[in-house]
Symmetry: C2
Subunit: 218 residues, 2 copies
Amino acid sequence: MHSFTEENYLKAIYHLSDGNNAGVSTNSIAEVTNTKAASVTDMLKKLADKKLINYVKYQGVTLTEIGVKAAVNIIRKHRLWEVFLVEKLGFKWDEVHDIAEELEHINSAVLIDRLDDFLGNPAADPHGDPIPDSTGNFTHKKLVKVSDMKEGQAGTISGVNEHSSAFLKHLEKLGLTLGTKITITDLIEFDGSIMLKADETKERTISREVAKNILVIL
Amino acid sequence: MHSFTEENYLKAIYHLSDGNNAGVSTNSIAEVTNTKAASVTDMLKKLADKKLINYVKYQGVTLTEIGVKAAVNIIRKHRLWEVFLVEKLGFKWDEVHDIAEELEHINSAVLIDRLDDFLGNPAADPHGDPIPDSTGNFTHKKLVKVSDMKEGQAGTISGVNEHSSAFLKHLEKLGLTLGTKITITDLIEFDGSIMLKADETKERTISREVAKNILVIL
DNA sequence: ATTAAAATTTAGATTAATCTAAATTTTTAA
DNA sequence: TTAAAAATTTAGATTAATCTAAATTTTAAT
């Protein structure tokens, strides 16, 4: 298999590619992997030799088909372990990322498939991110940022774009957790902040920055 | 914390010290860690610098107090994960060693304490080996090798001295699993093999080699 | 008590992942 | 369109863990 380090690069490239199908830059990889650009270049050569990425000097990289497969598999493991930590061990949604970051590198397909069954084949992790099946297939829900909603529109909170503990704890405090139904009551022109009603009862005002990172199903 | 490699050396030294309080030899460590003696010497210097072992050139090593703590903690993690794999995910007792070997290096005290609770604070792993508590305390049961039993003596199978899949599968096939009550019916002088009755009904003959690796509570 | 064998350590290399500093290429903007 | 800035790559080191081969120390056997 691949080393932990290689797996972390694949994951980083996958996440950075999300949406854009343009190549991912050396610098952006360095940033998310907490390394320097020179180190990234070295690793890119190695991953290219292994046919995991398409790499042309100075032009950024994309994952090959097998690179995508490898990355998706790591993400599958990460998300299933997060579900385990929250559902079975009682962790909060803002506490699981770092532990899952370690667990995602455990190598055993049987283990993960059994874990998946044990957890009841969950469709999403505790942050609402979809969990690919063992063949790598996602079932994507169409999600919309709260910051893109119109006045009067309603939806159900189903995901987040930001996974930091600080952000998740803030949402928790506001009562804006997954499954909460919200209705936009006011769009504040002055600073873009948004007023909404949660679960028909709680009135909340959130900044544009927060709104951008909450995703709903309409 | 310590690197995976360091942890594996600590574990190896701990297991090799079991019983004997004499120092552990460089060669024996090399054997169980699948390395060469020269590599072991290098690592011993490093572990000694970190005060995890007592090391005097040419004289073998013992773990220091903090070395023992670290080793016991790894063993605790290994055994709890084995219980998880068997009890929750449905693995067989001969299938869990390698996966637990990876899981034991996951670093999170909270995780392990919660796992312990989730599993109902088991006293032993699927092979009957005792699980230390979070402070490192073992509750040792007094176990006897079947090869040391006398004719007519009875006991309950409560552990094994050999964890290879081949051996465990063999026991499974014979119906000699943990919890089975056995009574010695005959000690064969010719080759030391032993005849016994399992669960009052099944008559079995096992070699001396097998008998040495089955442990009972009398 | 010597000496041969076995065990251990040292010396010197190798590999993976990283770094800094310098060189090169690409991008941007006057 | 060309020069400065930004991004990227190369060159040369470093650290952790390992190895082989040679040197040293301990053990065991006559």
